[in-house]
């Protein structure tokens, strides 16, 4: 019997929305390089060992991530290496 998903907090939803925004931005990059961007996004989101209640760190990382996104959105950046 599957468990019902717990209601997501506003902060969790913000993180999910931001994840989506990052992938949408990566879709604009040259097709052969998109997987590089996808890998980068996944690793950036998952590398932090965070607790759900660690609000200060989560909010800090969100702010930092959004600044990073604006940098990587630049059309001059068409590939990324990890």
């Amino acid at each position: 019997m599957p468990s019902f998903p717990t209601r997501r907090s506003g902060l969790q939803q913000e993180v999910v929305n931001f994840y989506r925004e990052c992938f949408r931005a990566a879709r604009v990059k040259p097709a052969q390089n998109r997987p590089h961007f996808y890998s980068f996004i996944r690793s950036q989101f998952r590398e932090h060992d965070l607790k759900k209640h660690d609000f200060a760190t989560i909010e800090y990382l969100l702010r930092r991530g959004k600044r990073q996104l604006e940098t990587y959105r630049e059309r001059s950046i068409d590939d990324i290496h990890m």
């Binding site: 599957p2 468990s3 998903p5 209601r7 969790q12 999910v16 989506r20 992938f23 996808y38």
Partner: protein, 99 residues
Amino acid sequence: MSHIATHQPLWSIARIALVIFALLYSASTSLSHSNIESRVLDILKSFNKVDPTKVSLNVYFLNDLGLDSLDMVEVVMAIKEEFSVEIPNKNADEIKSTV
């Protein structure tokens, strides 16, 4: 931020296929329900994190395939691209399983 208690539906591939079928029915007569189901199955199977042997119509994304909410963003985006449909983000966030 409102926290109204709502019943969140559990999604499966069968249900997603029905939604997509309904969305596309008027646009294309060559699209069959089982064709949609198999294409969604293929999308799931092609995910690195997913064990393809576990994927079936009634599998639950969260509980059976070990996918989390971030993975679900990618799954839904892949489905939207595959079928060129728009699933409103609100509904996309509710998609938690393939049933």
